[in-house]
């Protein structure tokens, strides 16, 4: 375990570090179209320095197709980087199967587990994970700290990104931020202890929320697989209601449209687009995150607030009006602007 400044750095270090180290023999990286931006961006940097990158599509449920993965790996593939849990839609990739394929094909398996650690059981041995990124603040630890697991047997070698005093076995220089390391460690311990119970509790809340919304609203769609999904996530398209306007209304609730990194931008989520969600529906989606401090009471309040504002915004939505009149909005020739 190497301490880093966070999952972004861990992902950069894992992918770039391993690619750079083995670049004399291998020049290919496999990842998916729904990875976190920092993985996609790292891959783009690698492309600029001569690597080939395969961005695997995902299925409509957000999961990677294992046969497509198997066929994408060549003897020049240095690393397969597939996230454990998606940050926007919460779907869980089949890590054990992916790890098995990578081991068979003799390529390293990196997984961005920022959204998975502490929420689902992870086992680097069973899942054949060679590199795994973890974030402090996604497991109720502090921001500014993360970790990268680097397998020792068989040994994975990396070119460090940050050099200097040689801390962290030379993989990551810089004075260790002791308070942050302690915070991450404690948070990890608590998560490990409470994971099972917490998952059950969140599952109930997730179901409660979804039932509440479905009972009172029509035309809502959950994006991503509902079964292979962490219970703390719901990503919902509220048809005919633009996501940002909905967020502005539900003032007592903190949710996001798209991922936080990019929510200040106006483009619809690339993750939803990769799932094949139409652009107009992608604009109506909200990511709702439930966690250890979320109560049943809060879920009920959230449902009420969402229902109230969705209804209010639909009443002023020209698209909702058309849908009620039976007009197919796809039949209209919209001017681009």
């Amino acid at each position: 375990m190497i301490f880093t400044s966070g999952a972004t750095e861990s992902n950069n270090l894992a992918i770039r570090g391993v690619a750079e180290f083995y670049k004399d023999r291998k020049n290919h990286v496999v990842t998916t179209m729904t990875e976190h931006k920092c993985v996609l961006d790292t891959c783009r940097h690698l492309e600029q320095s001569g690597f080939e990158v395969t961005y695997l599509p995902v299925q409509k449920n957000g999961l990677v197709d294992l046969e497509v993965l198997r066929n994408a790996i060549t003897d020049r593939t240095v690393v397969v980087s597939i996230m454990a849990v998606n940050n926007e839609i919460g779907v869980i990739q089949p890590l054990e199967e992916i790890g098995k394929i990578c081991r068979e094909k003799k390529t390293f398996f990196h997984t961005d587990a920022a959204q998975a650690a502490g929420k689902i059981p992870l086992d680097v041995e069973k899942m054949n994970i060679d590199l795994m990124s973890i974030s402090g603040h996604k497991i109720y630890g502090p921001k500014g700290i993360g970790a990268l697991y680097v397998r020792r047997k068989p040994r994975v070698r990396l070119v460090p990104l940050i050099v200097g005093g040689g801390q962290e076995r030379g993989f990551r220089s810089g004075t260790l931020p002791t308070p942050l390391c302690v915070g991450l460690g404690e948070a990890a311990e608590i998560c490990a202890k409470e994971m099972d119970g917490e998952a059950k509790r969140l599952k109930k809340l997730q179901e409660r929320m979804l039932k509440g919304l479905n009972d009172k609203l029509s035309d809502i769609v959950v994006n991503g697989d509902l079964e292979q999904r962490i219970p703390g996530n719901l990503n919902i398209s509220f048809a005919y209601v633009e996501g940002e306007s909905l967020m502005m209304g539900i003032k007592g609730l903190s949710v996001s449209s798209g991922s936080a990194c990019t929510s200040a931008s106006l483009e619809p989520s690339y993750v939803l687009r990769a799932l094949g969600v139409e652009e107009d529906m992608a604009h109506t989606s909200l990511r709702i995150g439930l966690g250890r401090f979320t109560t049943e009471q809060e879920v009920d309040t959230a449902v009420d607030e969402l229902v109230r504002h969705v209804n209010k915004l639909r009443a002023m939505s020209p698209l909702w009006e058309m849908a009620q009149e039976g007009i197919d909005i796809k039949s209209i020739e919209w001017a681009a602007h």
Binding site: S5, H36, G144, G174, L180, S256, A260, C261
Partner: protein, 366 residues
């Protein structure tokens, strides 16, 4: 600090200032991802904006020029790689995070006090466009470089200039625009902020390319969710340290006048807090352990290579004889040092020196 234990190793890490701890606790309790548009996110963003102003004010920069990093090491790495110059000139006494960032960088020689040889620099600059990286104050000796003069030479030759001000910011006046620097690194935990946070200040019109891919934070200059707690702590510490460390100058002068060892870099300008001092015939490790038992924390050289004690590259570059360099310890004061700490050090140092010189035990250096 209570006189029961005198912490005189501020150049390794300075204790957290209470104002910094308060700012951190407040930010950590509030939470929020500063990129989120909801109110929790916006509140976190506001804390970062405030800290950015506080850091900018400390080093004479504009808030938009401040890029938060995970510390001085990352800031130095980023500057040397991000300036985009293939030819890099570094002084021979730089921190390892500068030396190792560009291993092939040419080394600028220093004189016996550890001050950059300006004539040598000028000759090297004449060979073509370069990035010059020279630290403000040395971590081991405290020696302050003639930055204004170095900038003048670098500018005349069309070079870019980075300054590692990790050991200077908050101790002596540092002014990015006043000096004409392009890049400046600083670290929070060297000025009473928390570890795990620092900044690279990039002058608005200086070229800079990031190699950290991700979510586009810090205006696309450093990806990764901002360490809001750390940033708030850095901001508060930066503001608190604007008054400098002039108060400790008298303490340093007192200890240097009281102890007979050689002070390295004594002929050069130094910040008021750092003394690199030899105890003739006694290995630095022995001194560190004995002083620790005597209730005083100091260090042998820099603390980075924690545990392993190797020969100081800084003292070697100054032409100090290896046997003498092996007897050098670093005493560094800080914002909470009091005269009692210095008295404790003086007593412990003298006690050790007398024991060793009188008993001729085998701890003598070779």
């Amino acid at each position: 600090m209570s006189a029961a234990y005198a912490y005189l190793d501020h150049n390794a890490t300075s204790p957290l200032r209470p104002v910094a701890l308060d700012a951190m606790v407040e930010a950590l309790r509030a939470g929020g991802n500063p990129s989120s548009v909801h109110r929790a996110g916006r509140a976190a963003r506001a804390r970062i904006d405030r800290a950015r102003r506080q850091v900018a004010d400390l080093v004479g920069a504009l808030p938009a020029e401040v890029v938060f990093t995970s510390g001085g090491t990352e800031a130095n790495n980023m500057a040397l790689r991000g300036a985009g110059r293939r030819r890099v000139l570094v002084s021979a006494v730089e921190h390892e995070s500068v030396l190792k960032a560009v291993p092939e960088a040419a080394r600028i020689a220093v004189d016996g006090d550890g001050v950059v040889d300006l004539a040598a620099l000028e000759r090297m600059l004449a060979e073509g466009p370069a990035l010059v990286s020279v630290m403000f104050a040395n971590n081991e000796t405290g020696v302050i470089q003639p930055i204004a003069e170095i900038v003048r030479l670098a500018r005349a030759a069309g070079a870019l200039i980075h300054c590692d001000a990790v050991q200077a910011a908050g101790k002596v006046a540092v002014d990015l625009h006043g000096l004409g620097l392009d890049y400046l690194s600083l670290s929070a935990h060297k000025l009473g902020g928390p570890p795990g946070i620092g900044a690279l200040v990039v002058r608005a019109d200086a070229p800079f390319a990031t190699d950290r891919a991700g979510g586009g934070q810090e205006s696309n200059r450093r990806a990764g969710t901002e360490n809001v707690g750390g940033i708030a702590g850095l901001g508060a510490a930066a503001e608190a340290s604007r008054s400098g460390l002039d108060g400790v100058a008298g303490m340093r002068d007192r200890l240097e006048a009281s102890l007979p060892g050689r002070v390295f870099g004594a002929g050069a300008a130094r910040p008021p807090n750092t003394t690199c001092l030899s105890m003739p015939g006694v290995k630095a490790e022995t001194q560190v352990m004995a002083l620790d038992l005597g209730g005083v924390a100091v260090s042998a050289g820099s603390a980075c290579s924690s545990g392993k004690v190797s020969r100081s590259a800084v003292l070697a570059a100054m032409g100090i004889d290896p046997a003498e360099a092996a007897t050098a310890i670093r005493i560094s004061c800080g914002w909470n040092t009091v005269f009692e700490d210095i008295e404790r050090l003086i007593a412990a140092w003298q006690g050790l020196y007398i024991r060793v010189t009188q008993s001729d035990i085998s701890q003598r250096a070779a």
